[in-house]
Amino acid sequence: MIGHPPGEPRRVAYLFVLPAFLVYAAFLLYPIGRAVHLSLYDWDGLSLGRWVGLANYAAIVADEGLRAAFGHALVLMAFYALAPLAIGLTLAAILNHAKVRGLGFFRTVVFLPQVVAMVVVAVAWRRVYAPDGTLNDLLGAVGLDSLTRGWLGDYTFALPAVGVVGTWFETGLVTVLLLAGMSRVPTELYEAARLDGASALREFFAVTLPSVRGEIAVALTLTVIAALRTFDLVYITTRGGPGDSTSVPSYEIYHRAFGLGQVGSAAAIGVTLTVAIFAISFVINRFADRGMS
């Protein structure tokens, strides 16, 4: 091995990576390749598949129902990512700034939804939204009877209702992430800002927000991905209904592959969704990196 300066990558190093790579290839790369392969066929999962080229992808663009499903995923992104970010920033800023007593307790409380399995969350919220459920009881108690309805069966409110569950679920994660970021901000910065006569609001925008840019990027990446791959929530609460007003790509994938036997179409949606998730997380992180430097 003479001739290599110390520290230069050597080909033998690949041997050390090989075992991990093989596992990675067998459980991730191969399945992805296989999914791409399947997406080019019209296959029912049982008999011989028929090569259809990109027809499954063309169908995603042409099929109104599928386009709508991707549209619903975008709406859910607002509920899963943007709303928790707004609420999380506010909550974290208050908790951090006010030096609240029992901060640990509040942190635990806001984080609790994350600990519960999504299926359990969905079953519970289904009861909350039922025509004779908690939400309508509350509305009735404050004299808003006219607003009561079967929330998950209402064409206007079903998708927002599903989205609110996502907001409730993700807010804790975002808050805790941001709190961690804010606690790392050097107090000198705040002192300096205060000496300059900055208000609390000014302080937030001038000091806090730029300091947690990295955490915001992480939070957005996680929540946006969660929004795009929403499955369990829709599966349990509405099965895509009423009509098709809450169908999302992940639900379509499951439904087509296992329910209808349209494996090729399901694979095509899956590949499209994967690409979309890659693209969006790429954009978010690019944006964050540029801000950091």
Partner: protein, 467 residues
């Protein structure tokens, strides 16, 4: 050594063409040679043994192990299965049963993979419709049972309106005719459940005609009761409500044709329009509970059991649980006809049929098992466990009440061939299409014409492509 050879090969421009060729070859291989499903058996159905080739003496088959996948997981279902399996093993000590029981949904999602494998289970419970049994028949994964049916006399025991639910043409294209691919144990029929106490309070009797039923709905509404309890959040329950109304407006043979996805029928008929119109009319008159599209199926029938609602359109599968809660207050009738003497028409069919896989090495033993769990003694075991046996319903003795109503109703419907298939059987995607369309119709998001146009589109597209 290996690493250095590879290095040279990768770097050497002389090998570039070889690498390109290999890459192209791999792509071509991926594109053609290993098409998905190429390991599956040819779509032709396996040769049918003649009746003489069938061995019905299970004791003489030597030592055999049968693997059975079923979805009889709930209370009485599981109890009857355990009881019958134990009796079978006691009678034929040479046959060992390996039972794997999973919930309906779990079985649904795993059966496809299991059947396309090299060692599928011997006996599986496969759902009748096109997405399951139809697809399995088409792919050649199930064994036609006609020779066994002849040998064991199944076709004499089961009425035609029952056998059609387990019949497909050998290529899987025609549903309702052709070879026999499964044997069901239990029966199902969708009818009208009612609360006797409420009816008495309203001064009414169980309706005997469709007119009387609607008059009862109006009276219930006027008295401040919920006339029909419905929970349609899960999308499919509304299908049964529409099917029930449709049965009173559309000739039974037309419904059957539509539900089996045969060519030559149409949803765009005056009769279907009237049926859809009547349903909308019921919504307008407030015959359903508020927010029914946002109410779950289970909470709905539970609410009915607690006295919210005079009627509930539902299947016989609800009766055991409802009777536990309501006792004598529960009644069950077939959807009444235009006159008292009108022929019965009701959505109904079979519990999930048991089928034999094409690759099973022990079809004779499997057929003996099928016969055993569906013979006259087995039907008694089903009855004792609170279930509705598919045959010999009139030979069972049950105490008066909703369970007896159910036996009478099912007996009447099957004997007069009054069962019409579940509408969602029609095409592989019809459950979805119809479920969503009924939600739209009930929410008045679509008119009866638009509703029928949606159904027609799905139905015709399939009927055309299925030629």
């Amino acid at each position: 050594m290996i690493a250095s050879t590879r290095k040279v090969w990768l770097r050497n421009p002389r090998h570039a063409r070889t690498r390109a060729a290999i890459a192209a070859g791999l792509v071509a291989l991926a594109a053609s040679a290993c098409a998905p499903g190429s390991a599956a058996p040819p779509a032709a159905s396996p040769a049918q043994p003649g009746a003489s080739a069938v061995r019905t003496d299970a004791a003489a088959l030597g030592n055999v192990t049968l693997t059975i996948w079923d979805q009889e997981v709930r209370g009485g279902q599981d109890a009857q299965m355990k009881q019958l399996n134990a009796a079978f093993e006691a009678k034929y000590p040479n046959i060992r049963l390996k039972r794997l029981s999973r919930s309906f949904d779990d079985l649904n999602t795993t059966l496809r993979l299991a059947l396309s494998g090299n060692e599928p289970p011997d006996v599986v419970q496969a759902n009748n419709g096109r997405p399951q049994m139809g697809a399995f028949v088409k792919a050649g994964h199930l064994r036609p049972l006609d020779a066994y049916a002849d040998a064991y006399g199944w076709k004499k025991r089961y009425p035609r309106s029952v056998l059609q639910y387990v019949s497909y043409s050998a290529d899987g294209k025609v549903f309702g005719e052709g070879n026999l691919y499964g044997l069901p144990q239990a029966g199902e029929v969708v009818g009208i459940l009612y609360n006797t106490a409420k009816l008495t309070k309203l001064g009414l009797r169980p309706p005997e005609t469709w007119e009387e039923f609607q008059a009862a709905l109006a009276k219930a509404k006027a008295a401040g009761e919920v006339p029909i309890q419905l929970g349609n959040l899960d999308k499919w329950p509304g299908i049964h409500v529409f099917g029930t109304v449709q049965g009173r407006h559309v000739p039974a043979d037309q419904i059957t044709k539509l539900a089996f996805g045969r060519k030559g029928a149409s949803w765009n008929t005056p009769e279907n329009t009237r049926a859809a119109g009547q349903l909308v009319d019921w919504v307008d008159k407030g015959y359903f509970n508020k927010g029914f599209n946002g109410q779950g199926y289970d909470p709905a029938w539970q609410a009915f059991s607690k006295g919210e609602g005079v009627f509930l359109i539902g299947g016989t599968w609800l009766i055991a649980d409802l009777e536990k809660a309501m006792g004598k207050d529960l009644g069950f009738i077939l959807p009444p006809g235009t006159t008292e003497a009108a022929a019965p028409v009701a959505t109904g069919g079979t519990g999930l049929p048991f089928a034999i896989t094409a690759k099973s090495p022990n079809p004779d033993a499997a057929a003996a098992y099928l016969d055993f769990i569906a013979d006259a003694d087995a039907m008694k075991v089903l009855t004792a466990n609170g279930l509705l046996p598919i045959a010999d319903t009139d030979r069972q003795s049950v105490k008066a009440g909703a369970q007896q109503d159910m036996f009478t109703a099912f007996g009447t419907a099957t004997k007069q061939d009054g069962l019409v298939p579940y509408l969602d059987y029609a095409t592989p995607t019809f459950a979805d299409t119809l479920g969503a369309a009924v939600q739209d119709l009930l929410a008045e998001k679509s008119t009866p014409q638009e509703f029928l146009a949606t159904l027609e589109k799905d139905y015709q597209a399939f009927a055309e492509s299925n030629e």
